[in-house]
C-alpha cells in the first residue's frame, strides 16, 4: 500500500469522525495494513518520502503518514530506537491535529500513545543493551504530558464533546510514564493541574477503569509520601481515629472496583494495600494469598512471624527481602509492622506468666531477649510505652516500680479491633 492509499483511508475516517477506524489506520500493530505498507515501500528513507510526499497532503498528515511508515519499517527491521523516534514525531504531528478536534479523536490518541510507550520501552531496552543512555521513556513522558495538556485545555468544544472527557485517561498514561522513569515527584504537577481546573467533570462520571487506575496511582503517591498520619480526637477518653485519607482509602477503592478479569492489576493493588492494612493490624486471609502466590512469597513470612511473635524470623525475612521491598518502597512499612511483632512477644510473655494483672518491665525485657532481640532495659521500656501508645497493650507503666499495670479486661486486644494512631 502506498502512502496515497493510506492517506485516502485516513481522509475517509476524518470526514466521518470515525475514531475507531482512524485508530486502526494509525496503529503499528494492525497486521493487515502494516504488512501492506511495508511491502510496498521497501527501501524508503525519510528523504525519499519527504521528497515525494511533503506538502502533498494537508499538514500535518504528510508528516504523520511518513513518520508512521518509517516507524513500521523500523519495527520490522528491529531498530527500536529509530522506531520510537519515528513514532514520537508521528505523535507530535498528530497532536497538532488533535488540538483542534472534539473528543472523537480520543480513541486514536489512546492507541498511538500506548504504542508510543511500548516503543519507548523497546527503544530503551535496545539503548540499554548498547550501553547508551535510556532516554526514550522520558521523552515519551514529555509527549504524553503534552497530550494531557491538550485534553485539559479544550475551550472550544461543547461540554458533551469536549476533549476533557479524556483527561483522566490521559493523566493515567502520564502517571504511568512518570512511575516508569522514577520521576514520581513530577506527578504532583499533573494532579494539581487537574485539581485546579474546575471545568473537568468529576471523577465519578468517568469510566470505572479510569477511576480505578487513577485512584491506584493516587494511593501510591500518598504511600510514597507516607501520607497516612492524621490524628483527630473525637471523644473523651481520646480515641484516635485512624484516618488514612489517601493511601489506604484510594487503594481500597481501587481493589474493590478492579475488574475481576484483571488479576495482574489486582495483584499490583494488593502489593501496596496489604502492608497498609497490616499496619492497621488487619491481615490478609490465607485464601486471598492463595490467589496471588507472589504476594504470598513477599508477605507470607512476615505474617507468620507476627502471629508467632517471632522477631528473629521477622528480621531474617526483612533482611532477605530487603532489596525487593526497598524497590517497591514498602520497606519502611514493614519496619513499622515489626512493632506488631514486638507486641505479640509481649503478649506471649503475659500468657506465659499466666495473665497477671501486672508485669514487670524486666520480664518484658527478658522476653524480648529470648525472642531474639536483646537491648537495654530502658529501650525495652520505651518499646512497651510505644505498644501502649499504639493500642497494642491497655494499661500504664509505673516507672519507679518498673511495673506495667494492665487493664482488667482485654489488656492485649485483638489486632483488628484496636483503634490506633499511626504517627511517625
Amino acid at each position: 500500500m502506498k502512502l496515497e492509499n493510506l492517506a485516502h483511508h485516513i481522509n475517509l475516517c476524518v470526514k466521518a469522525n470515525n475514531g475507531i477506524k482512524l485508530a486502526s489506520w494509525l496503529s503499528t500493530n494492525e497486521p493487515d495494513h502494516v504488512d501492506a505498507l511495508r511491502k510496498a515501500n521497501i527501501g524508503s528513507t525519510r528523504d525519499s518520502l519527504s521528497k515525494k510526499y511533503m506538502n502533498k497532503f494537508a499538514s500535518p498528515w504528510d508528516e504523520i503518514c511518513i513518520a508512521h511508515l518509517l516507524a513500521v519499517i523500523a519495527i520490522s527491521e528491529n531498530r527500536m530506537e529509530d522506531a520510537y523516534k519515528e513514532q514520537a514525531s508521528m505523535v507530535n504531528a498528530f497532536l497538532r491535529f488533535f488540538g483542534v478536534q472534539t473528543n472523537w479523536v480520543l480513541t486514536p490518541l489512546w492507541v498511538v500513545l500506548t504504542e508510543l510507550r511500548q516503543l519507548a520501552h523497546d527503544g530503551d531496552v535496545e539503548l540499554y543493551n548498547q550501553q547508551k543512555l535510556t532516554t526514550c521513556c522520558e521523552d515519551a513522558a514529555r509527549i504524553c504530558n503534552k497530550a494531557f495538556t491538550m485534553c485539559v485545555t479544550d475551550r472550544t468544544s461543547q461540554p458533551a464533546e469536549s476533549r476533557k472527557w479524556g483527561v483522566y485517561r490521559a493523566v493515567n498514561i502520564v502517571l504511568k510514564c512518570y512511575f516508569k522513569v522514577n520521576r514520581t515527584n513530577l506527578s504532583k504537577n499533573v494532579i494539581r493541574a487537574i485539581e485546579a481546573n474546575s471545568d473537568i467533570p468529576s471523577l465519578e462520571q468517568f469510566e470505572m477503569t479510569d477511576q480505578v487506575t487513577y485512584r491506584y496511582y493516587q494511593g501510591l503517591l500518598a504511600l510514597l509520601d507516607e501520607n497516612y498520619s492524621r490524628v483527630r480526637e473525637t471523644s473523651d477518653p481520646p480515641v484516635y481515629a485512624y484516618i488514612c485519607p489517601q493511601a489506604e482509602g484510594e487503594l481500597s477503592f481501587a481493589f474493590e472496583h478492579c475488574h475481576y478479569s484483571s488479576p495482574r492489576n489486582q495483584e499490583r493493588i494488593l502489593t501496596f494495600l496489604i502492608p497498609l492494612r497490616m499496619m492497621k493490624g488487619s491481615f490478609p486471609t490465607v485464601r486471598l494469598l492463595k490467589r496471588f502466590p507472589s504476594l504470598e512469597g513477599l508477605y507470607g513470612r512476615f505474617l507468620k512471624s507476627i502471629r508467632e511473635g517471632n522477631i528473629v524470623e521477622f528480621d531474617r525475612a526483612l533482611l532477605d527481602l530487603e532489596a525487593r521491598l526497598v524497590q517497591l518502597n514498602i520497606w519502611l512499612m514493614i519496619v513499622k509492622v515489626r512493632e506488631i511483632t514486638v507486641s505479640r512477644v509481649f503478649r506471649k510473655c503475659w500468657l506465659v506468666l499466666n495473665k497477671p494483672s501486672r508485669v514487670s518491665i524486666p520480664a518484658f525485657h527478658a522476653a524480648l531477649k529470648v525472642a531474639g532481640s536483646p537491648m537495654e532495659i530502658a529501650e525495652a521500656e520505651c518499646l512497651v510505652a510505644n505498644s501502649i501508645f499504639k493500642g497494642f497493650i491497655k494499661g500504664y507503666i509505673s516507672h519507679d516500680t518498673q511495673l506495667v499495670v494492665l487493664a482488667k479486661t482485654d489488656a492485649f486486644p485483638r489486632l483488628g479491633v484496636r483503634v490506633l494512631r499511626n504517627g511517625f
Binding site: N185, L186, D225, V231, E233, A385, N386, K390
Partner: protein
C-alpha cells in the same frame, strides 16, 4: 548568564530572528556558508554586545550582497572575515591561564592585525594568516562540538525540568541525582591547553586578576569583570585568612558573606577541584555551627555534584549529613528514594549507618534509640539533628504521657536526650510546650513528676500548632 550564552550558540542559526527575513523565503543556502555563519557566531560570543551587533549587521550585509549578486556558491566562505570582529582586543583582556603558551595568542594577534580586509572580497592570502585562521577555525569547530555534546547531555534533564515545575529544588536535585551517571568526561582537545583544575573549560571561562583577599558578595547580574575576580592562587590565601578570622572573631555574617563571594569566584572561573571541595565543606560546617540550614543545604547540594565528578572529599561525612538533613523535611518520598539508592558499601559507612538508624528510630517512634543516637551523632550531625530534636521530643513526650501516669523528670532527662547537666533545659522545654504540670510541684526539680493526664491534651494541641509543617527556605 551562562545559560543565555549557551542557548545562543547552540540554537540552530536559521531560527534567529534577524535571519528570518532572508532565510524564510528563498532557496536553501550552501553548507559552506552555513558553516561560516555558525563559526562567526561562535567567535562573536567573546565580544561585548555592542561589537556583536555590529558584526551581525555586517554579516547580514555580506549575505544579502552575496545573494543578490548570485555569488553565494562561489565565495570561499571559510576565508571571509568580519571587520567588526577585531580579534586583538578580547585576547588582551583575557589573560590565558597557563604560561606555557604565552607566545601563542600574542603571535596570532600580531598576524591578524595586519590582515584586515574589507569584508566582501576574499582575503589576499598569506601563509601565516592561513595557518592561524585554520587553527582558529578548527578550535571553534571543536569547541562547538563539545558545546553541543554538553548541551545534549544537559538538555535531557533541563528540558524535563523546564517543561514542568519541579517540586522544590530538592526535587530537582533528586532528578539530577537519578541522572548523575550521564556526565560526559570530555577532554578539551583544542588549544590553549586547559588548566587541569578547571573542568568544563570553555571560551566563556574567565581568569581573574584581582588580588584583594577579601571581597563582599554581590549577586552577579551581568558578565563578570576579570579584574574583580580573584584567581585560584589568591583564593587559596583567602581561604586561609578566612579560617583564621573565623576562629578569632567568629563573626558569622561577615564570614558567610566572604565565603559566598569566594564560591562565586570559583564558579565564574569554573574551577572545580579539591580546593573547591574544601571551600564548600568548610562553609557547610560553619553554616551548620550557626544553624544556617539554607546555606548548608546549598553547599551540600554543590558538594554532591562535585563528589560525583570524582573529586575527593569527606563523602561519608556529607552523605550522613544529607540523610540527617532529609529527616528534617517532610518530603518522605525523596528520603525513601535516596535510601533506596544507597550502595552496600555506602551503607557500611559509620556516619551513614548512624543516619539510617536514626531514620528507623524516628519511623518506629523508638525515642530511646533516637535520642541515644542524637547524643552520639558523628561529626557535626548533631547540629542538623538539633533542628528537629524538639519536634521529636514533643512526639516522644506524647507517647510517654499516654503510657505513664506520672513521668519522673529523671526519666525524661535520659530518654529525651538531655545531658546530665541540662535539667533546666528540660524544664524550659516542658514550659514551652505547656507541659509543666507536676504531681509534686513543691518538690525539688530533680524529683518532680509530670502529671500525664493533665498534660496530654494540651501537648497534642501544641504539637499540631508548632510542628505542623516544616518549611525550609531553599529546599523542600
Amino acid at each position: 548568564m551562562r545559560q543565555n550564552n549557551e542557548a545562543i550558540v547552540c540554537e540552530p542559526f536559521c531560527t534567529r530572528p534577524y535571519f528570518t527575513d532572508i532565510m524564510s523565503s528563498g532557496p536553501k543556502f550552501p553548507p559552506a556558508m552555513q558553516e561560516w555563519v555558525t563559526s562567526q557566531f561562535q567567535k562573536m560570543q567573546k565580544f561585548p554586545p555592542a561589537m556583536r551587533d555590529a558584526a551581525r549587521e555586517e554579516m547580514k550585509k555580506i549575505i544579502a550582497h552575496a545573494y543578490s549578486t548570485g555569488t553565494m556558491l562561489s565565495i570561499p566562505w571559510s576565508t571571509v572575515q568580519l571587520t567588526s570582529l577585531n580579534e586583538s582586543d578580547p585576547l588582551k583582556n583575557l589573560k590565558r591561564k597557563t604560561t606555557d603558551h604565552a607566545e601563542g595568542p600574542p603571535k596570532k594577534v600580531q598576524l591578524t592585525n595586519n590582515s584586515f580586509v574589507p569584508s566582501v572580497k576574499p582575503l589576499k592570502t598569506n601563509v601565516f594568516e592561513d595557518d592561524a585562521r585554520t587553527r582558529r577555525e578548527k578550535r571553534f569547530q571543536r569547541e562547538a562540538l563539545i558545546e553541543q555534546n554538553r548541551n545534549l547531555n544537559t538538555n535531557h534533564h533541563t528540558v524535563m525540568v523546564s517543561g514542568m515545575s519541579v517540586g522544590g529544588s530538592l526535587g530537582a536535585r533528586m532528578q539530577g541525582f537519578a541522572h548523575s551517571h550521564h556526565h560526559v568526561p570530555w577532554r578539551h582537545v583544542a588549544e590553549p591547553v586547559p588548566d587541569a583544575n578547571v573542568i568544563d573549560w570553555d571560551k566563556y571561562t574567565i581568569v581573574g586578576r584581582s588580588t584583594s583577599i577579601f571581597k563582599n558578595y554581590l549577586r552577579l547580574t551581568s558578565d563578570p569583570d576579570p579584574k574583580d575576580i580573584r584567581p585560584l592562587s589568591v583564593l587559596r590565601q583567602t581561604l586561609e585568612q578566612l579560617k583564621q578570622r573565623w576562629r578569632s572573631e567568629g563573626n558569622y555574617n561577615w564570614v558567610c558573606d566572604q565565603f559566598k563571594s569566594l564560591r562565586q569566584d570559583l564558579t565564574v572561573q569554573r574551577i572545580k577541584n579539591e580546593f573547591t571541595v574544601q571551600v564548600y565543606e568548610i562553609h557547610a560546617r560553619i553554616a551548620l555551627e550557626n544553624s544556617d540550614l539554607v546555606e548548608f543545604n546549598a553547599c551540600q547540594a554543590m558538594l554532591r555534584t562535585l563528589y560525583e565528578l570524582g573529586l575527593p572529599g569527606k563523602r561519608e561525612e556529607f552523605l550522613g549529613y544529607r540523610i540527617l538533613y532529609m529527616l528534617h523535611g517532610r518530603n518522605r518520598a525523596d528520603l525513601n528514594f535516596l535510601v533506596s539508592q544507597l550502595t552496600p558499601q555506602e551503607k557500611e559507612l559509620p556516619a551513614v549507618q548512624h543516619a539510617l538508624k536514626a531514620h528507623m528510630a524516628m519511623a518506629t517512634g523508638n525515642y530511646h534509640q533516637f535520642f541515644a543516637l542524637f547524643l552520639v551523632a558523628p561529626n557535626m550531625g548533631g547540629y542538623i539533628m538539633d533542628h528537629y530534636v524538639d519536634r521529636e521530643r514533643c512526639g516522644a513526650l506524647i507517647t510517654m504521657a499516654k503510657s505513664y501516669r506520672s513521668l519522673p523528670l529523671r526519666l525524661l532527662q535520659t530518654e529525651l536526650g538531655y545531658e546530665s547537666d541540662e535539667l533546666p533545659k528540660l524544664l524550659d522545654f516542658l514550659t514551652k510546650h505547656s507541659a509543666n504540670v507536676f504531681t509534686n510541684p513543691n518538690a525539688p526539680d530533680i524529683e518532680k513528676h509530670v502529671a500525664c493526664s493533665a498534660v496530654i491534651q494540651t501537648l497534642i494541641q501544641v504539637q499540631s500548632q508548632k510542628y505542623a509543617k516544616v518549611g525550609i527556605k531553599g529546599s523542600v
